[in-house]
Amino acid sequence: MPPDVSTDVLNQDDRSRFEAIVMPHLDAAYNLARWLLGGRSEAEDVTQDAMLRAYRFFSTFHSGDARAWLLQIVRNCCYTWLHKNRNWVDVDELDDASVPREKDTPETLAISVNDRERLTRALEQLPPHFREILVLRELEGCSYKEIAAITSRPMGTIMSALARARQQLRVLLTEPAPKEARLEL
């Protein structure tokens, strides 16, 4: 993120440009914040903060992908918030380059679109770095290049990071919930 310096207030033209180019990605910003922070009001506050930051630093955005530029700011704001309010420590699980191997006798994945709650719970259980990469890819439809830009990771690591995120999610979705397991016994 750019250093916290006060920049010139945008002129009318730049403000219009900001509203036309950056503001349309408000949904994307909020969705990412919502998935990283969990709560509605936290997500609203952090999204607003991120938007104001983006506005202040709009002069540093020249051209290109406004969504990726904004989401990068949102992501940084989210992690700062988690660090301050949840004592979150950034252990980058994705740094571990090892890719889990497919189990020899994989259980079948049993999930359907009707399992929204189970899916939400599983996603929320994932570490933030895994969660964000799935949210960016599957919900936001970002390309590897965009994910790399947003998460400040080398492009080459995105594929294996996604593979691991999907593998983790799959494990969470194949393991039966403890309650159900007890009922079956």
């Binding site: 002129n11 900001f18 349309p24 910003a29 609203e44 020899d104 994945l109 919900l139 390309s143 294996s160």
Partner: protein, 249 residues
């Protein structure tokens, strides 16, 4: 049994991130590797479930307003010494209210884009996605695409390339919306396609509207005697951005 590729290339393949040769290679591999074939099926299921379970949280309506109210206005810094921020906020709110009122007044002249036309545009978009139907003239050069329409339509559609804004022009074709021949301009957006249907309208026409139909986003607007309707599976924000590019042209 396991396969190394199931945890690596399979994902790039699934995400459409392999080039044509890589994709063909992996296709070949899928035919002989039951592990990858099964894993791919499972990943496709997982993706479908993720994308169709209403997991996307849109920003609440009030948030946009709150942000707009809090953006420091143009030249606000100069007057900051004379007024307290509180009064500035009140003034900004009044200005915003006045602006919204004014916009309400001016938008009253706008008419909602007819549903039948929208449905026809979405159908035309779907048709264009069939292999070989996307473009009649394939070119990223607006000076090639524009003249191609000469003599084929009774109007000259505005053709612009927005590659510098990540909406590259891919080409154009003729299409039919509710029996009217229209120009279809095709734009790319991160491996997705956007059709912009352009037809002649009354000089003061002011159609407007946007929404979702059959899983596609659409947005319609009028400018300078043309009516535009953009349809695509890209996000509503992307379509809005493309619309702004056309409007600001």
């Amino acid at each position: 049994m396991s396969c190394e590729l199931a945890q690596t290339r399979l994902h790039a393949y699934l995400d459409g991130e392999l080039d044509a040769a890589g994709s063909a290679d992996f296709n070949q591999h899928l035919r002989t590797c039951p592990v990858c074939a099964a894993a791919l099926g499972e990943q496709e299921t997982l993706r479908g479930v993720l994308q169709h379970s209403r997991l996307y949280s849109r920003a609440p309506a009030g948030l946009k307003l709150r942000i707009a109210e809090n953006l420091p206005g143009p030249r606000a810094a100069k007057s900051a010494a004379l007024f307290s921020w509180r009064w500035l906020a009140v003034a900004a709110a009044l200005l915003l209210a006045a602006f919204l009122g004014w916009r309400q007044a001016t938008t009253n002249n706008q008419r909602n884009y007819p549903e039948a036309a929208m449905v026809a545009a979405v159908d035309a978009h779907l048709r264009s996605m069939q292999p070989g139907h996307l473009v009649d003239v394939q070119s990223t050069d607006q000076h090639t695409v524009k003249p191609w329409f000469d003599g084929k339509l009774d109007f000259a559609p505005p053709v612009r390339d927005f590659a510098s804004n990540d909406f590259p022009l891919l080409g154009g074709r003729l299409d039919v919306i509710e029996g009217r021949t229209v120009a279809a301009l095709v734009y790319g957006r991160r491996k997705h396609f956007i059709n912009v249907f352009v037809e002649k309208a009354a000089p003061d026409a002011s159609w407007n509207g946007s929404g979702e139909a059959q899983g596609y986003h659409w947005t319609a607007w009028s400018k300078a005697g043309f009516t535009f309707c953009a349809v695509s599976d890209v996000s509503a924000a992307d379509l809005e951005q493309l619309k702004q590019l056309f409007v600001q042209e």
